[in-house]
Symmetry: C2
């Protein structure tokens, strides 16, 4: 039987207590293997290999994720009895939702990107054109944070350890490679460079300090794997619908010029095989 | 802006009250457009176009859905104040979990299929090899039934209206086309032919009777669309991982003979483009 690799690893992890530094190494190893910067869709996105319609599809789907993040963070805070944890965590909600000092927040900055890409703002916000798989993955993340232990909820945020690299690649790659992208629409990523680093440092220290048994450590590693799956599966769905084989599910966004529903094209290509 | 078709429809639906018979027509139209018998993966499956490893992948992923159905039904019953609804609904849990009269239940019959396909029972039950997208879609369904109105929860079961046709196609198609499938492993589908028809008749009558305002009717139609998305996106994920482009996510089931993790193959094929 193949495919049991991850299971075997998890059993191994349960065998011994890691030092905080070993725990950090194990967390970072998960990112090296599973963070979505390794996904083929990202190589296409940053490498300038996508058309405008495909970049639009990415941006409007990713909006679902962005817009759910404050609910996820509120769910985490609703479970934290430790006031210091709540105080440290609170600014994440402001970072995304905006505050009242003129900081518009990450969701608004994401809408600058989608508007810059020529997608109607109300259509993006309605999420009507998003892939069902995107919605399911995003809500799985919110639910995970609501229902698992607080420690696992914090650990699931640790994909932010790996985010600065991908944001940097994205800013450079997208500005260089797409004539429909200019610097003004990339402000989301510039701003996140600082935010994500600070947030990840705090969460990493928290997990290293609070995961004190082999079982807790294994649960934290699994939580980070889960979160990597949440991100990865969103790119799987984009690749499937908008790159190859290009089967857009009923009701989802159809880029201009993609012609008839691509399901028909997909079925036609099956018949001709 | 394209892709807003479904939105427009929904607005239209909200404009007027349908008669019970018009409501049935509208529900059946959703199935005709969106039920997963229209998905390319099903054409491959029934048409004998898949290898054994691909059929294994389908069966072990679909197990996640089967095994979640009783939780979904229990969630629905937990919200029903109407004793008659609970009494009518209750046998669905027995149908899947088995009873104590020798009826082993649908989940056990599904494991007869996966075992007949040569997949280790414990591996299937662990769900370790299932695609994350499968798990997310299945849990989205359970959550929908927990959190939406009871009427929407009942309406979301109405994909069963369309199930007998697909079960019949599957029995004939799979027995004819695959030498690794024999009649003994197809008992799940034979049994479901009767069960699904009776269940769907009750749920359809319930929805026709209780959806008394345009808003309730629109919500029921949306619930059925949602459920079609749950089923459809599972086949999208299978097609993506195991047919084309064949990128198996980290940690998911790798069929025998598929060689190295297919992600690497996927990346290699991207580089050579």
């Amino acid at each position: 039987m193949s495919g049991t690799h991850a299971h075997g690893e998890a059993n191994g992890e349960r065998a011994k207590l890691l030092s905080p530094d070993e725990m950090e190494v194990a967390l970072r190893a998960i990112g090296a293997e599973r963070y979505h910067d390794r996904h083929p869709f990202h190589h296409l996105l940053h490498g300038g290999k996508l058309g405008k319609g495909q970049v639009q599809a990415w941006a409007l789907n990713r909006y679902c994720y962005q817009s759910a993040v404050p609910r996820k963070d509120a769910a985490l805070m609703s479970r934290a009895e430790d006031r210091e944890l709540r105080r440290e965590w609170r600014h994440r909600i402001e970072d995304h939702d905006g505050d009242f000092t003129g900081e518009e927040g990450g969701i608004e900055r994401w809408l600058v990107l989608t508007t810059g890409l020529g997608i109607d703002r109300d259509y993006v916000v309605s999420m009507k054109g998003a892939l069902p798989a995107t919605r399911f993955a995003v809500e799985a993340y919110v639910r995970f944070v609501r229902e698992n232990t607080l420690l696992e909820a914090v650990a699931s945020s640790l994909t932010e350890l790996f985010a600065p690299t991908i944001h940097r690649e994205r800013i450079v790659g997208m500005l260089e490679n797409y004539d429909f992208i200019d610097d003004s629409v990339m402000q989301y990523f510039r701003r996140r460079l600082d935010q994500a680093t600070n947030d990840a440092d705090f969460a990493l220290a928290y997990v290293k300090r609070h995961a004190r048994s082999p079982e807790q450590q294994a649960a934290c590693l699994d939580a980070l794997r889960f979160k990597c799956n949440v991100l990865w599966s969103q790119l799987d769905a984009l690749y499937f619908a908008y790159v190859d084989p290009g089967f857009i599910p009923p009701g989802a966004f159809v880029p201009e010029g993609a012609g008839a529903p691509i399901l028909s094209a997909g079925l036609a290509s099956l018949r001709s095989r």
